[in-house]
């Protein structure tokens, strides 16, 4: 008897969605026009392989943008982009080794854990493969053999946020870190603290948005003196905005952010978020691939031995509308 009712349920479950598909949504949904036509010409140099190896954890929106920039440069330069990532230093080193084994024409790598990568990058140097670094490792790129670095110093970015907050009279901001122990995130908050000594750090579980919401709410409830709150990633800032609104603290607690997304820009335009700091990750990806192609093309080494800064760029109400279009495209 049980089996028959299961079969019936299965049949019903199959038919109903087909009927329901006729219930189309009047707004929202996938845009019908495909953005970005691919009409241009590519470089005339032969196809080469370039490896981009980051310390990204899977599913991070920030690295998505880096990857998009790298991909556009690769397409334009007739480059076959090999993208891999691993937050673990040891495993990231193994990925670099695999790139060397594949005899790539260039390696772009992030140096969040430079000690783990030192040895394998020496091997790359011995194999004659040029190396650039991006995003993390501004102080160490030379010592591991990279000829330049594309990035935005997290401490500098944090300081920029701190300066701006101090200008607006903020004395007790909460800095929300979604991954305890993440060097870049900790550096951002440390940077803020240099300019605003009253900064307090709050750790939340980034893998569970409901816990982020409830922890932020709890902190705001127990810290009546807080006058600002900073999110270190666009999705987390969105959750913070909701929490602040639910507690009716929008007038008292200013919201600031790092990084960008379409929704975040819209929030800035709407006044829910004061400003955000963009390190222009698209540029980091684009420039590192392009630099390696330039080296292949003519032995050029951009940067002059110094790092090439891609930020910080502060986006607030004044320049947000100009950026909105690109944020929706997912490149800012």
């Amino acid at each position: 008897m049980k089996k028959i009712s299961w079969q019936r349920l299965a049949v019903v479950a199959a038919i109903v969605p087909m009927l329901a598909l006729s219930a189309c949504s009047s707004s929202g949904g996938r845009p019908t026009d495909t953005g970005g036509s691919n009409g241009g010409k590519v470089a005339t140099t032969p196809s080469i392989k370039i490896a981009l190896i980051t310390h990204a954890a899977p599913g991070d929106t920030f690295w998505d943008i880096v990857r998009k920039g790298a991909q556009e440069a690769a397409t334009k330069d007739n480059v076959d982009l090999l993208y891999t990532s691993d937050p673990d230093g040891g495993r990231q080193a193994q990925l670099v080794q695999q790139a060397i084994d594949q005899k790539v024409a260039g390696i772009a790598v992030t140096l969040a854990k430079p000690d783990a990568l030192k040895a394998v990058l020496k091997k790359a140097e011995d194999a004659g493969i040029p190396v650039v670094s991006l995003n993390s490792g501004e102080d160490v790129f030379k010592s591991v053999g990279a000829f330049t670095h594309f990035g935005s110093d997290e401490n500098v970015a944090g300081a920029a946020v701190g300066t701006r907050l101090a200008e607006e009279g903020v004395t007790h901001p909460l800095c929300v870190i979604q991954e305890q122990g993440n060097v870049a995130l900790e550096a951002r908050c440390a940077g803020v603290k240099t300019k605003v000594p009253g900064t307090e750090i709050l750790y939340v579980q980034g893998t569970d948005m409901t816990q982020v919401a409830s922890t932020v709410t709890a902190k705001l409830q127990s810290t009546p003196g807080a006058d600002a709150i900073i999110g270190l990633g666009a999705p987390f800032t969105a959750t913070i905005v909701k929490a602040v609104g639910a507690l009716n603290l929008a007038a008292k607690v200013k919201v600031a952010s790092f990084d960008l997304s379409g929704e975040l820009i819209q929030s800035i335009i709407d006044g829910k978020v004061q400003f955000t700091v963009d390190q222009q990750p698209w540029l980091q990806g684009y420039d590192s691939i392009d630099a390696l192609w330039q080296y292949y093309r003519g032995g050029f080494m951009v940067g002059g031995g110094l790092p090439v800064l891609t930020g910080p760029a502060i986006i607030d109400k004044t320049n947000a509308p100009a950026v909105l279009k690109f944020a929706k495209e997912g490149i800012r």
């Binding site: 598909l21 219930a23 949504s25 996938r30 893998t207 409901t210 709890a218 409830q221």
Partner: protein, 347 residues
């Protein structure tokens, strides 16, 4: 013909009668309840703001998002199995609803319905593979966990173009779905969210199912001694598959809350939560080996986790020590649970 034998005299006079208090103390959830009360008192003293109604509502919300899953996982543990894919299955459900609705530009409720089918299907697959291969559920669901994690990332990027789903807030049906899954109710000035009510309702229904229906009897039997249950005619295979599908259902409920509360779903989320669900169930008195436990216990376990999690923030303790405090709290709560149980059994 043989004569009817006289029945033998009544058995062992050494087996004394248990008092009502002992019986009460022997229930699986009592240890957890004691632990919860101790923790509540502790945080009330250390952080005065903890006692405020709004703070308590926040604690309840933080508990409910673990609690909804802990209900299903506790039931499964009583049935003798683990589900390590429960954490990511929540996100799979949310992603399915969001991406499907967005890609085909249909009413969001269609996506919600499809997500339910997918969640139940994931549960079915877990249970079916388990019964067919007779591998430990730890292994089977570990494999499913890895596969779902990969699918979450790959399909989101493939369909949506990024690691997070596009916004569906402007689509038809979003408002009504939000009213069901992610509503904020203001009762007597206190802000209570949907998951809290859903959690309480789920616990009530599941407790009734476990203690007052045939299926509940089968669940205890299947977890306590699978072979014995099979020998007396209990449908072991379907009971276990049903339990996995129950976890799938809870995953759908929580996934829908995630989607309609936060709109964009990060495809990398959910990882790590599966252990919290198991911890909540174990704190609540469920035996790791199965056959013993309760749904209310799982709820209390989730509540303990919520109190520890939020209490540390309310108490303004040094955030670097957060994880350490959390682990210590959980260990202490479990030990209290164990002590109470042992004393009850020895009485």
């Amino acid at each position: 013909m043989t004569t009817l034998l006289k029945p033998p005299p009544a058995l062992d006079e050494r087996v004394g009668k248990r008092g009502m208090v002992s019986n009460l103390l022997g229930r699986p959830e009592i240890g957890a309840l004691v632990g919860a009360i101790v923790l509540f008192i502790f945080f009330s003293i250390v952080a005065p703001v903890f006692l405020q109604a709004n703070s308590f509502a926040t604690v309840l919300y933080g508990s409910s998002t673990i609690g909804i899953m802990a209900v299903g996982v506790a039931l499964l543990m009583i049935g003798g199995e683990f589900d390590l894919s429960a954490g990511v299955a929540v996100i799979s459900s949310a992603l399915t609803a969001s991406l499907f609705s967005w890609y085909f530009s249909v009413n969001v409720w269609v996506g919600v319905g499809l997500a339910l089918v997918v969640s139940l299907a994931i549960g079915f697959v877990n249970g079916w593979i388990l019964m067919k291969t007779k591998l430990p559920s730890f292994i089977v669901t570990l494999a499913t966990f890895l596969m779902l994690t990969g699918l979450n990332l790959a399909l989101t990027r493939l369909i949506g173009g990024s690691v997070a789903t596009p916004s569906i807030a402007t689509m038809d049906g979003f408002a009504s779905a939000q009213a069901v899954f992610a509503n904020d109710f203001t009762i007597a000035g206190v802000d209570l969210k949907s998951p809290v009510f859903i959690w309480i309702i789920l616990v009530a229904i599941t407790s009734w199912l476990l203690l007052r229906t045939r299926v509940g009897n089968w669940i205890f039997a299947v977890g306590g001694d699978e072979n014995a249950a099979r020998a007396v005619g209990v449908p072991v295979k379907w009971t276990k598959i049903g339990l996995f599908m129950g976890v799938g259902f809870c995953g759908w409920v929580l996934g829908m809350h995630n989607l309609f509360a936060f709109d964009a779903v990060q495809s990398g989320e959910g990882i790590g939560n599966e252990f919290l669900y198991i911890i909540a169930a174990v704190i609540g008195g469920c035996l790791l080996t199965g056959g013993y436990g309760s749904a209310i216990g799982g709820a209390i376990g989730a509540f303990i986790f919520g109190m520890a999690n939020k209490g540390i923030v309310y108490a303004q303790w040094n955030p670097d020590w957060f994880k350490f405090f959390l682990g210590l709290m959980l260990l202490l709560a479990t030990i209290v649970n164990l002590i109470v149980k042992r004393r009850a059994d020895s009485k």
